[in-house]
């Protein structure tokens, strides 16, 4: 297998009950790349993303056919430890959802449940480190004990990123992480993504094509549950190979 490939999906079909949401999706997501997924809403981007860390298991009656591999390992095999999988593959949601706890407790939650830290001092170090990597430390260092709900929307989303980073994941899945944010906060999150890709493999769903063009190395275009085109971002936006892709990026639908 290819060392450059972090996640590989082979002829994946996904069903919500009898309704099929993904059709024969094949994709290879490269290590330490930012991979963007674009497409009109309802085309299956979130479904695809949530299939990667088996978040869809939580919805009763869903089923995946085909194969999803993380470092060559079958994600859906019965020997896969789903809890560990989700620890390794972190997720950032569209609506920022910090727990109604203090800022500190939010970041410390993951390490705590995963039993990563031996003592409080170690935990303090981790919390500071992750808040720094999420570019939030300077803004919150004086109010770690305050409720996370007191933060602004953009800060909350970066806190969620910090929370995800604290369990030392390998992959970050982001489902429209900036869609609910103002332009300044969006810019901060994008900057952060750019920083993070040095260490993490990132898959980001966005409905904003400029954003995809700005942050990603490779881009996939989804339409009606199919991966229509997958290419280097620059190529996909300047010289799309498929007619549907061109129609979409030139704004003819969606």
């Amino acid at each position: 297998m290819d060392d450059q490939i972090k996640i590989s999906v082979k002829s994946a079909n996904f069903f919500y009950g009898s309704q099929q949401a993904l059709h024969e999706v094949n994709i290879s997501i490269r290590r330490c790349f930012v991979t963007a997924l674009i497409g009109p809403s309802g085309c299956g981007k979130s479904t695809f993303l949530r299939a990667l860390n088996r978040m869809n298991d939580l919805i009763p009656g869903t089923r995946l056919e085909g194969r999803v591999e993380l470092d060559g390992q079958d994600v859906y095999s019965s020997s896969m430890d789903v809890i560990q999988l989700r620890r390794r593959v972190g997720m950032i949601f569209q609506r920022s959802n910090p727990f109604p706890m203090s800022i500190y407790e939010n970041v410390a939650y993951g390490p705590r449940v995963n039993g990563l830290m031996k003592n409080r001092a170690e935990l303090d170090v981790t919390v500071e480190k992750t808040l720094r990597s999420a570019a939030l430390w300077d803004e919150v260092k004086d109010r770690l004990a305050r409720s996370a709900m007191s933060l602004s929307g953009g800060q909350q989303q970066r806190l969620c990123i910090a929370r995800a980073l604290a369990v030392e994941p390998e992959v970050l899945l982001m489902d429209e992480p900036a869609s609910a944010l103002d332009p300044i906060s969006t810019a901060k999150v994008e900057e952060l993504i750019y920083e993070l890709k040095r260490t993490y493999t990132i898959v980001i769903v966005t409905h904003n094509m400029q954003q995809a063009a700005r942050v990603s190395d490779e881009t996939g275009f989804f339409l009606n549950g199919r991966l229509v085109e997958f290419a280097e971002t620059k190529k996909l936006f300047t010289a799309p190979a498929k007619r549907e892709t061109e129609d979409y990026i030139t704004g003819r639908f969606g």
């Binding site: 972190g90 959802n97 727990f99 993951g110 929370r163």
Partner: protein
């Protein structure tokens, strides 16, 4: 003309509201006016004397508190566990869930006297007698009315209150929090214990208080399961009978040889029971209102 009709209509609904509020005020006022004469520290701490015509009601207060205490250490934990099962593990669309949930709902509306029958038939005649046959052959130890069986009966009666309140608050916790926690590599149990339950805490509190208030006020279930009119001594064992505020009121108003003479004590007993249940319910209502504001924000 139309405005007249409209106004009269609104005035009538207002009048109905006032009638209801007046009814409450009359009951409470009457009890407060007549009940406070007799009330004293001694009344609360002394035992009855001269066939209930003198002394206090301490044994009844003690018995009620004991009953409610035993009841809640059973009803609250079990109710919370069932609520966790319903809200977090059971499939909401499964037939099993719908049926069991309906049974719990129905139980909340079954008359309390039926629970009294159940307590007698199940706890005393079946469980209690069973224990006696195995452990104390030939003796009557657990196969008779007692504070233990009254508390168990009351626990079954109040279980639905706890289950329904706690399940409701757990379901009100947004799904996003569950997903966020699981996406961080937490197990389901960790998610429930560390994220969901802390947010449903107000529900647990409300459920517990509603159960306690109900347990303190209901009389029908303890009529045959353990309440006694007069006992010379406080119960010290689980298989002894107990005195109960509500039962005391019932018995004093119907069985006293001289109702006029017992009236002041009777009123004061009612006053004590009212204050107790009123405070409990007020707390529950306040917690729930605060919680509602908190969840809708």
């Amino acid at each position: 003309m139309r405005r007249m009709v409209d106004r009269t209509f609104v005035a009538m609904t207002l009048a109905a509201t006032l009638v209801i509020l007046a009814m409450i005020a009359i009951i409470l006022g009457n009890v407060v006016i007549h009940g406070r004469d007799r009330l004293s520290w001694e009344f609360l701490t002394a035992a009855p004397e001269q066939g209930m015509m003198a002394g206090g009601i301490f044994p009844a207060i003690y018995g009620t508190v004991l009953l409610v205490f035993l009841m809640s250490i059973v009803a609250v934990p079990f109710g919370v566990l069932v609520a966790i099962y319903f809200a977090e593990y059971a499939r909401a669309e499964s037939r099993l869930y719908r049926w069991t949930r309906m049974a719990v709902n129905n139980l909340a509306g079954v008359p309390s006297i039926v629970f009294g029958l159940f307590g007698l038939g199940f706890f005393i005649q079946t469980i209690g007698h069973g224990i006696d046959q195995v452990l104390y052959p030939g003796y009557l130890v657990y196969g008779q009315p007692s504070v233990l069986w009254a508390a168990m009966t009351m626990a079954v009666l109040t279980l639905p209150v706890v289950i329904i309140t706690v399940e409701e608050t757990m379901r009100a916790v947004p799904q996003e929090y569950r997903e966020a926690s699981l996406a961080l590599g937490a197990t389901r149990l960790q998610t429930i214990l560390r994220v969901i339950l802390p947010q449903a805490w107000s529900g647990v509190m409300t459920g517990a208080i509603l159960a306690i208030s109900r347990g303190a006020g209901e009389v029908a279930p303890v009529l045959f399961t353990g309440a006694a009119y007069f006992l010379p001594q406080l119960p010290t064992r689980a298989n002894e009978q107990f005195m109960h505020l509500g039962y005391h009121i019932y018995a004093m108003s119907t069985q006293s040889p001289d109702v006029e003479a017992t009236k002041p004590i009777l009123y004061s007993t009612v006053f004590v029971l009212l204050v107790l249940t009123f405070l409990l319910n007020l707390t529950a209502i306040l917690i729930r209102n605060r919680m509602r504001r908190w969840t809708t924000r």
